[in-house]
């Protein structure tokens, strides 16, 4: 699909897609959601990674993690459940084996990471702060599929604040915190991480779901429950982004079921400064590139000079 290829970050020929927030300047607001894009290299045969606003890695932990038993994924209506279990190569292997490739790409790298304990979150943050090539981190306190290492910290405002302020002490570059929708009131957590020193919020991670194999009368996933992603999730995600944008003064990255430029625009208009694309990458490796092109086209059609003019323009 190289006929669609434009030079990276080119703005001379039309609307400006660049966005700026939390100390990051991105050539456009489109980036992958952690866990749907590997470490970038997996998708490089199918797309020009230079055309993305940022690259967000698979969630890393200090030590490698094996992940959950199989089956780990199940398709559902308008979405899928996953319980991968944060399988990853670990920070050291990432630096040795994956980062050299990413260094060659002219796109900021955001490392998603998590820990099994407060201490591990701190150690991982310390280790990541020493790596120059990392533009920002995204702190995962929201994985629904592992007992520790995520959601325990993301569903309690006190625990969330504690882990964010610990990481903040070790990491000077932009700190994004990814929130879970599996709470009664997401704004409570959002305020807690804002006060604890976060620079931005990604919302949302997957919503916990259960799919049943009716013949075996057992869950379709070995883990039992899994995280729901895909277009089925989108209205819920747009609502939560809107709520968080109202509740805090931090910039928000919108995530949840974005398949097209139109979907991405819903999040931007609701107040997100950028968007993450997840399940759509599985459906079509060209999804993010199509979204970038679609945003540009929309701005042209609407007579909008820069995409940032659209952010938070929802009239309620």
């Amino acid at each position: 699909m190289s006929e669609m290829l434009l030079s990276a970050g080119s703005t001379a020929d039309g609307p400006d897609l660049a966005v700026e927030f939390a100390g990051l300047r991105l050539k456009n607001p489109v980036m992958p959601a952690s866990g749907t894009f590997g470490y970038g290299e997996e998708y490089s045969p199918y797309m020009d990674l230079n055309r993305l606003g940022a690259i967000v890695t698979k969630g890393l932990s200090l030590r490698p993690k094996a992940g959950n038993p199989t089956p780990r994924i199940a398709e559902t209506n308008g979405g899928m459940l996953n319980a991968i279990g944060l399988q990853n190569v670990g920070v050291d292997a990432f630096v040795e084996q994956k980062l050299p490739f990413l260094k060659e790409v002219q796109t900021p790298v955001i490392v998603n990471f998590f820990g099994n304990s407060l201490e591990e979150y701190g150690q991982a943050a310390q280790r990541l702060s020493q790596i120059d090539e990392i533009a920002a981190v995204e702190l995962n306190i929201s994985c629904p599929n592992v007992k520790r290492g995520g959601i325990v910290f993301g569903t309690d405002p006190g625990a969330a604040a504690e882990v964010v302020s610990l990481v903040r002490r070790h990491f000077n570059k932009p700190l994004i915190v990814k929130l879970t929708p599996n709470v009664t009131d997401i704004t409570v957590i959002a305020r807690a991480v804002e006060e604890a020193g976060a620079d931005a919020i990604s919302c949302i991670n997957t919503l916990t779901g259960l799919a049943v194999d009716i013949r075996r009368r057992r869950p379709r996933l070995a883990n039992g429950t899994g995280g729901l992603s895909g277009p089925a999730l989108r209205p819920l995600a747009v609502r939560m982004v809107y709520q968080v944008v109202q509740a805090v003064s931090l910039p928000v990255i919108g995530v949840g079921g974005i398949m097209s430029a139109e979907d991405a625009l819903e999040f931007l208009i609701a107040g997100a400064h950028a968007v993450q694309v997840g399940t759509a990458n599985f459906v079509d490796p060209a999804a993010m590139i199509n979204i970038v092109d679609g945003l540009k086209q929309f701005c042209q059609e609407e007579g909008v000079a820069g995409i940032s003019e659209l952010i938070g323009t929802l009239r309620c």
Partner: protein, 285 residues
């Protein structure tokens, strides 16, 4: 590897519920190796959402419709209608728009060093064996042991025979060939040709049985696995299988899509594969 929007050249029923589909796929067809697969999607809606993996049956070139146009390089897949995705595929016709990503994964290693070549296919599992056979017959005598539940599940025998492959058919109900599992034929052949190499693709219980026969005889075995997967490129980590030496303490997962779908038998943890079968892994479409 290419991600293309393209069109269907033909889509024909070959047996009740089984279809073969030729897809125009320049840039994929010429790269494809035996045992590789493509991710395929026809619907423009979000239902069903994900692409489906299909083993490549064969690649080739059809003459263009008129002078001046390039010849039509195609990949051909073979599928059984089992769910929502394949029910949509059944209704497709020549000229319909589809999306194809491929060729993907690691294919078969050709162990064509003069040893007897035995292919074992169960049901739709014979798909990747055809392209393999067409390579192997160039240098070797090739035997195909093909099994299925019933007559209608045994496909493409004539096509294999046209390649010069010697075929042995068995069905569970005896409606075609000899009655019984394909593995009973394999045991006979391996008694006769103990130095053979075996390539197998089919349902997990069949692969498991093939492994149990080959292992004590120290017969080199490659198996092509099926798995439900979302991406096909090693990103989602949804299709992993346990590799040899896997344990809770030292986990060793392999991506079916990227490190497979073809594995040497010794690369896999068969105890755990067996467990997975017993747990009744839900099948993909």
């Amino acid at each position: 590897m290419k991600n293309i929007k393209t069109t269907i050249l033909s889509n024909q029923e070959v047996s009740p519920d089984y279809y073969r589909m030729k897809i125009l796929a320049p840039g994929i067809s010429d790269l494809a190796q035996p045992g590789q697969f493509v991710m395929f999607r026809a619907q423009a809606t979000d239902e069903p959402l994900l692409r489906r993996p299909f083993g490549i049956f064969q690649t080739g070139t059809l003459p263009s419709d008129c002078d001046g146009l390039p010849d039509k390089e195609f990949v051909e897949i073979l599928y059984k209608v089992v769910g929502r995705g394949t029910a949509i595929m059944r209704e497709l016709h020549e000229g319909d728009r589809v999306e194809v990503l491929g060729p993907l994964g690691r294919g078969f290693e050709l162990a064509d060093d003069g040893r007897e070549q035995i292919l074992v296919g169960g049901g739709i599992g014979l798909v990747p064996l055809y392209m393999l056979a067409s390579e192997l017959v160039k240098k070797n005598k090739v035997r195909l042991l093909i099994g299925g539940r019933s007559r209608k599940d045994v496909l493409m025998v004539t096509e294999f025979e046209r390649l010069g492959v010697e075929t042995y058919v068995s069905t569970d109900d005896g409606t075609l060939g000899e009655q019984g599992p394909v593995t009973q034929v394999l045991e006979r052949k391996l008694s006769k040709f103990p130095d053979a190499v075996v390539y197998a693709c089919g349902p997990m219980p069949m692969l498991e049985a093939v492994f149990r026969i080959c292992q004590p005889r120290q017969v080199a075995l490659q198996v092509s696995l099926e798995a439900f997967m979302a991406c096909g490129v090693g990103a989602c980590l949804g299709c992993v299988v346990k590799g040899a030496g896997h344990s809770e303490q030292q986990p060793h997962y392999l991506c079916t899509c990227k490190e497979g779908p073809v594995f040497r038998a010794e690369e896999l943890d068969w105890e755990l594969l067996e467990k997975r079968v017993n747990e009744g892994e839900h099948s993909h479409e």
